[in-house]
């Protein structure tokens, strides 16, 4: 290895360490036995243990981590998939027909700029009236609203990037609108769908506010459930257990991101026109 390479790797290593420090600190804390957390602030664990994880993964009468994981999975899937289903036809209509481009598009995209808390009170009343309070569907629906702007933005860009000749070719080939959308436009937008899904799922999974407001027992998501572990045995904060539950809660989106990352990049339209 040349000296330039060595230097470069050293810089990368330092940067990776600094940026991931909070995660490393959490992981290390999760591996320390209860007494050591307060006594030993270093990153070196003197007596590594899985005790905290065992506590987290054990179902008690008050806490059930599997229940929270399942709630989060269902709600996040609804929150990630539903916006794509809604936004895809809308994105096509906006790009190709100009539907809603002047008013609807900026309005929806600007939803992201609003502090979500202003939805809380009306939403709580609506959910109470419709029986959606403390349901996974109810939580998933509001997460879908949260994700809609990003989904629309990404899919609008994806459709706009497709050569219009492909759609014209399919019209000449006899395809009416539904077949053209499903067989030609949709597959070509796949990278955008993957990106939308990954970001949407992660956003939905990590959402805390609506989970806290809209659920009490049956549909408590992982983020809210994790907070229950902080004071497991009354008294002070159980730092080791809290760290362990954070690691457990962070794993699913992390794994999803790693698995899907490769698919986010790369264009589908190579070889369509010219070349």
């Amino acid at each position: 290895m040349r000296r330039g390479d060595l230097l470069r790797w050293a810089v990368f290593a330092v940067a990776a360490f600094v940026m991931n420090f909070p995660i490393l600190a959490t992981l290390v804390t999760a591996l320390k036995p209860p007494g050591e957390v307060m006594r030993n602030p270093s990153l070196w664990v003197q007596a590594p243990t899985l005790e905290n994880f065992a506590t987290v993964l054990t179902v008690s009468d008050r806490l059930n981590v599997y229940h929270y994981l399942w709630n989060s999975t269902v709600a996040a899937l609804i929150g990630a998939v539903l916006p794509m289903v809604v936004a895809f036809p809308l994105a096509w209509a906006m790009v190709r027909r100009g539907v809603g481009r002047a008013v609807l598009f900026p309005t929806v995209v600007n939803l992201r700029a609003l502090p979500l808390i202003i939805f809380a009170i009306p939403l709580y009343m609506m959910y109470a009236a419709t029986g959606l309070l403390d349901t996974r569907l109810g939580l998933g629906l509001i997460l879908a609203i949260v994700n809609l702007p990003l989904a629309l933005l990404l899919l609008v860009n994806a459709v706009a990037d497709l050569p219009v000749e492909l759609e014209e070719a399919s019209r000449m080939d006899g395809a009416r609108l539904p077949r053209m959308l499903v067989r030609v436009v949709l597959p070509l937008c796949r990278p955008a769908f993957v990106t939308t899904f990954v970001f949407g799922f992660i956003t939905a999974w990590n959402e805390f506010l609506f989970g806290l407001i809209l659920t009490t027992r049956d549909a408590v998501p992982m983020t809210v459930g994790a907070s229950f572990f902080f004071a497991t045995s009354g008294g002070g904060v159980q730092w080791g257990v809290a760290a362990a539950v954070m690691i457990v809660a962070a794993l699913p989106p992390l794994v999803l991101g790693l698995v899907m990352y490769r698919r986010i990049t790369g264009s589908m339209v190579a070889g369509a026109v010219k070349g």
Binding site: E168, A169, P187, G275
Partner: protein, 349 residues
């Protein structure tokens, strides 16, 4: 197969007239080439026939059926796009089968038709590849194959050769002409390349500013262009237009040379390069300074400046030894001249 009939077709985009009243009949089985400079509306005209644009007024009939207000899928036409527009996420086979499957043709029939087209276009070994893995010429053939399998009422081509390199273009030109003979299909072909138009067309339609300037066989258009635009658009080198005076029933050329000619109202004459014969100075009706001589093997393409702002293109025998800067004469036979009025129209009709 079916003929296509356009009547008084117009198209405006945001108040801008792109097609201004085109009437045209393409006979069944005819290879019709629409040619014109860029911006003349030729692609728009093709898209109107395809149904990808809606006509502002006028009618389009295919095989005697009025299709003016029909969507593209109900017109039974196939189109080969300039960019090929192959579906990048499908194999060559699926690209060709897409239209048939859309029409719910039985899968065995789809396979047979795709195999037939693949054989005709030498694509058999490539059926499982994606378009990205094909060369430009192969993509082009897939685009044609996609059109063939559907057995359309007519084929529409939008500058299909413009993305190919020169030698492939020449080969594909020959293949397309052969394909036309083999299928006996009605084809409407748009190009800005007058060589493609001359070599492939049964009939050429010259379009300019959204209007038809002239239509006819390549020979008609070359030998009797209706106006100076058509005269200069077809043929290489371009036809030279020479402004003339008429005195005592004689044509007076720049420099004073005279030819007897019968036309009334003559303002300019057109001269094809092959009809201008290089002679010794004073040996012809025109004379001037040789400004370029390009040796092309079979001929010598020369430019002679006979007056300020007037350069005559001529083809000379390749063995002629002349060098730029020399003075030469140009001999012309009056019968070879194309007579035009001041507004550019041909006089002898």
């Amino acid at each position: 197969m079916a003929g296509i009939e356009l009547r008084g077709l117009t198209k405006s985009f945001a108040g801008q007239d792109v097609i201004r009243g085109v009437s045209l009949t393409v006979a069944q089985g005819e290879f019709c080439v629409i040619v014109g400079p860029s911006g003349c509306g030729k692609s728009t005209l093709l898209r109107l026939i395809a149904g990808l644009e809606e006509a502002t007024s006028g009618t389009i009939a295919i095989g005697g059926r009025d299709v003016t207000r029909l969507d593209p899928w109900d017109r039974g036409l196939a189109m080969v796009f300039q960019s090929y527009a192959l579906y990048p996420h499908m194999s060559v086979r699926d690209n060709m089968a897409f239209g048939l499957r859309t029409a719910r043709v039985a899968e065995a029939e789809v396979a047979r038709k795709v195999a037939d087209a693949a054989r005709m276009l030498r694509l058999e070994g490539l059926l499982d590849r994606r378009p990205a893995a094909l060369s430009g010429g192969q993509r082009q053939r897939v685009a044609i194959g996609r059109a063939i399998v559907r057995d359309p009422a007519a084929f529409l081509f939008d500058e299909p050769l413009s993305n190919l390199d020169a030698s492939l273009r020449a080969d594909t030109r020959v293949e397309l002409a052969a394909l036309h003979r083999a299928l006996g299909a009605t084809m409407v072909y748009v190009t800005h390349d007058q060589v493609e138009a001359m070599t492939m067309a049964d009939r050429i339609v010259v379009l300019d500013g959204g209007r038809v300037r002239q239509k006819g066989s390549p020979r008609d258009l070359y030998e009797r262009p209706a106006d100076t635009f058509v005269a200069q658009f077809l043929g290489s080198p371009r036809m030279t237009l020479i402004p003339v005076d008429v005195q005592d029933g004689q044509v007076v050329l720049p420099g004073g040379g005279r030819l007897s000619a019968p036309w009334a109202g003559l303002a300019q004459v057109g001269l094809r390069a092959e009809h201008a014969r290089i002679t010794a100075p004073g040996g012809g009706v025109l004379s001037g300074e040789l400004i370029a001589a390009e040796y092309l093997g079979a001929t010598l393409s020369v430019l002679v400046r006979v007056a300020d702002g007037l350069t005559v293109a001529a083809l000379a025998p390749p063995h002629l030894r002349i060098t730029p800067g020399e003075r030469v004469g140009i001999a012309i036979a009056a019968a070879d001249l194309h007579p035009f009025a001041a507004d550019g129209r041909r006089i002898d009709g």
